[in-house]
């Protein structure tokens, strides 16, 4: 154990946050999968055990990744990004359908389904970190700086959008944050946002006109959020129902919650173990528990920013801050959906929602951040040692 602890490097606070979130995840998933287990005639602890395995593997992945020297991610990022594009295309045409959007593919041999967009996101963020760090000198220039940075984002988003618009939009928006941090001119970002709005509207209109794609769903979700009563299809009802049920769960929670395993709403909320797990957490652990989760994510981000500050090289800095900010931003968005601050989008709560591949991709991201952290620690350690060595080493006697 000690040996393992000694070998484990990187920011201890981030490790702590990951462990606490995993623990919360275990509790919430166990509580909320009762109905699912019952419906599928499984033992009530079936999903707990499954989730435990997934989390354990996730921790292993973090451990494994953080051992890698972060400079190796330069090449990995490029390979991963180039790999993600054909996979996205494949998914778009042959992916498994879930909730109308084609999002999933099944890996042959190991027989694991995963959401290609998760992989694409990770690959894109790492790739962006590399380009942004490379283009710092010319970043303010539209042609030389902005276009090369923008291009990979546009390609990935365009490939995700038809099947899963909200993910694509979220991804685009997150990339804008990265652009902002990467010193891209604000007017360029606004231009991009404007183009994005036009693009989305166009896509929406085409989808609506041709009946292909998910225009109706998008329209409905916006309408629901706006509180409109119009609309005829059952989708509307379902979203309104979800939001309503989530709100009830939150109301049930009160300040300190109903207590672990005491959720009532888990029997009413659709998928209480994934998209709406945050409302179950609030129901069982109250406002206090809900705030704690928010603070944990913010803490994680704060620690990542510290790593960023200390990292002497641009790539590492961008990698750490980019991956953590996107992760935390997704978490915030998911919670915002749960409390009905933004319309319903199909986002999971990273590390907490039940699910295999998404947790593992999150683990990779965290592993990368920790890898940078480890490097920073070691780098500073070396400097220190060097300085100490300089100080302490007695000058050789003149001979």
């Amino acid at each position: 154990m000690n040996k393992l602890l000694n070998r484990t490097k990187g920011d201890k606070v981030i490790w702590g946050v990951v462990l606490v979130l995993s623990f919360i995840s275990l509790l919430a998933v166990y509580s909320s999968t009762g109905t699912l287990a019952f419906n599928k005639s499984k033992d009530s602890s079936y999903y707990l055990m499954k989730h435990l395995m997934v989390l354990a593997l996730g921790l292993l992945i973090i451990y494994g990744v953080h051992k890698v020297n972060y400079t190796k991610f330069v090449r990995i990022a490029i390979v991963l990004y180039l790999l993600s594009l054909p996979l996205l295309i494949y998914t778009l045409f042959f992916g498994a359908t879930l909730n109308e959007g084609s999002r999933w593919i099944k890996l042959p041999v190991i027989n694991v389904t995963f959401q290609t967009s998760d992989l694409a996101k990770l690959a894109l963020f790492m790739f962006l970190a590399r380009i942004l760090s490379m283009k710092q000198n010319v970043i303010k220039d539209f042609k030389k700086g902005f276009i090369p940075v923008l291009l990979p984002v546009l390609v990935t988003c365009a490939l995700i959008a038809p099947a899963n618009l909200s993910t694509a939009l979220m991804l685009g928006f997150t990339c804008c944050i990265l652009f902002f941090i990467g010193r891209v001119q604000v007017k360029h970002i606004l231009l991009l946002a404007f183009a994005g709005i036009i693009g989305v509207t166009g896509l929406f209109l085409i989808s609506k006109a041709t009946g292909f794609g998910r225009a109706a769903t998008w329209e409905q979700r916006i309408k629901d959020f706006a509180g409109s009563d119009e609309g005829k299809d059952g989708k509307k009802k379902e979203d309104v129902f979800q939001v309503q049920q989530a709100k009830i769960a939150i109301a049930n929670g009160g300040l300190t919650g109903r207590g672990p395993g005491q959720s009532l709403q888990r029997n009413f909320l659709p998928h209480p173990y994934s998209d709406f797990i945050y409302s179950i957490i609030v129901e069982e652990y109250g406002l206090v528990g809900g705030a704690l989760v928010v603070i944990l994510y913010l803490l994680f981000l704060w620690r990542s920013i510290q790593i960023f500050r200390r990292c002497p090289y641009a790539f590492g800095a961008f990698l750490a801050v980019g991956l953590s900010i996107t992760l935390v931003f997704q978490a915030m968005l998911n919670m915002a959906v749960n409390v009905h601050l933004v319309p319903v989008t199909g986002l999971t709560l990273p590390l907490v929602s039940m699910g295999g591949s998404s947790i593992w991709f999150t683990s990779i991201a965290i592993g990368v951040v920790l890898s940078v952290s480890k490097y920073v620690d070691e780098n500073e350690g070396k400097k220190k040692i060097n300085e100490e060595t300089k100080m302490k080493t007695p000058k050789p006697a003149l001979a």
Partner: protein, 695 residues
Amino acid sequence: MTVKQDIRFRVYVAFTCICLLGLAIILKVAYIQVNEGPELRKLAKSMHTRTTLLPAERGNIYTEQGALLCSTIPQFDVHIDFSVIKPDTFNKHVDALAAGMAMLFKDKSADKYKAMLTDGFKKQSRYYLLKKNLPYYDYQALRSLPIFNKGKRRGGFIEDPKIKRINPYGMLAYRTIGLWRENSQTVGMERTYDSVLRGDDGTRIERKETGGVWMPIEGSEVEPQNGQDLVTTLDIGVQEVAEHAMKSVLEQYECAYGTCIVMEVQTGKIRALVNLGRQQDGTYWEDLNYAMMPTEPGSTFKLMTLFALLKDKYVTVDSKVNCQGGIAHFGNLTVKDSHLGLKLLSIKDAFAQSSNVAMATLGYKHYQSNPKKYLNHLHTLHLDGKTGVDLTGERPPRVKKPGQSDWSATTMPWMAYGYEIQITPLHTCMVYNAVANNGKLMRPYLISEVREYGKTIKKFEPKALEESIGDTATIRQLQECMKEVALTGTAKHIRSPFYSIAGKTGTAQVADKGIKYSDGVYQGSFVGYFPADKPKYTIAVVIRTKPRSGAYYGGTIAAPVFRMIADKVFAASKGWTGPLDSIAQKSDKQIVANYAPAASYDVLLRKMGGKAPETTNNYVIKVATDSNKKTIVQQAKIYAGMVPDVSGLGLKDAVYLLEKQGMKVVVRGRGKVYTQSVPAGTKINKGQNIVLQLS
């Protein structure tokens, strides 16, 4: 600002934004809890818990003998949700399931069932109607077949339980017992005594648990109060006979409808109430309560006029009245007898011959100047209001009154022989019953007890509406006149050699809803009681003919029904012997005897001073004298033309014996024959129903 500083600044801006978002989330949580909390929690409560109705069991209706007339049974509609059945499960078991269903229901072949199931499966129908109104045992058997035994979640088996009222005796007294349907109009006793039968539903609060299962919360239950049982005065044996007799006549003459009331003289208990109406297809069904619809009674009403005349001492039955050959004029209207040619007669004879002229003349003579006096007598007889029978739907009679616009100069003479007044057959029956009961007017009633779990909790006693409607002399003379009707009068052909009948025929032209007098629709009736010297039952038979029917006289169509019922009822009542010499005659030294019910022999042998044979009363026996001049008893197993005793027999044997005699057997229950609705030794009518109660 250096590049590094710029980036750091931008990171802090982003971080701040995300922190603000986090804060917003926490604030929104607090906002929802505080502001929308109470409403949402209320909503949650209504979703998490529900109040379930625990329906009370509706009470049964029994006869005084304990026969079950009406009960409640559970039934099931079964739907299938094919979308939850896995294809391989379906394909693997569909053959076994189809075969099982074919075996169970025997209405379709296994192939047909398979085609049906496959079709439903192909369409992935989520609510495929498989069977309706399944009895409990069939439902259970169906549920245990392959695929379905996987339940609702994986076998797609959806059952909708409902309750249904059943009448084990089918049409018998169907209209009187009434109908009870969910969310629909109820009629008959089911309606009158709904508050008794219904009971009070209970409730239970349930909470939704994992997997959508509703679990009752302990201590939240309010137990349902089951409905109480009713015991009706109806006698299923008498009812059966009355219904059968009525139906045979109605069918013979294709009549529009017929109603018949059998009332116990001393108590006013209604032992049978038949209401048969002709249906579109020419069959008869208990459709409307004709016994409680007021119509012009016709000649049976002459008894009321005679009652008035006698009570006021204007006449005695021996007074003479001129029947004027059967035609009399009042104003510009003419009263005519159905059979012309009657001259000067005693009132008794004029009554027996049913002279309209005689009654119209007498009524006119004595009451034209003071109709109120006449109407007061009708009031005494309770003819100007409802009888108060405990059955909903009784309509009030219509009695014209002087001073009203419809009272004319000829109303009185016409009323005197049964027109220009509308009363129900039940009214007529009630008044005749009072005469039979020596002047005591009993309220007719149908419910004698209310029971709960087999215990009597309320008993309805017979109720006299009038202790005495008139003096003994009046009643006695009325009885005398009615006896004359069945002896020499219009009903002499139904005279029975075994018992005496008193009554009155009636033949009225009908003007009613959509019917004019000229349409030639008649209402033939016979109301009377028997045995005339010691009355036990009053029977009112009223039959409405089809237009221009060949047979319409009360004596022709209604009186035979009376006779048939009286025969059967009398035969069934203990102690009736029939003509003793028809059973046995004593020749020189030995008895030459026929087969007869043991009950009859009992009386015969007592009269002969001998000892009653020791057998069960229900056996048909033959008594003979053996060589030692001792009386011996031989039991008859089957005797042509008589209903055999089948009690204690197995069902197969009983059905064989009875159907061989041409009877239709209706079976209730399981096991061996416990009772039979037609007593052993009764003469058989071909096609007559006999109900066997098994135990």
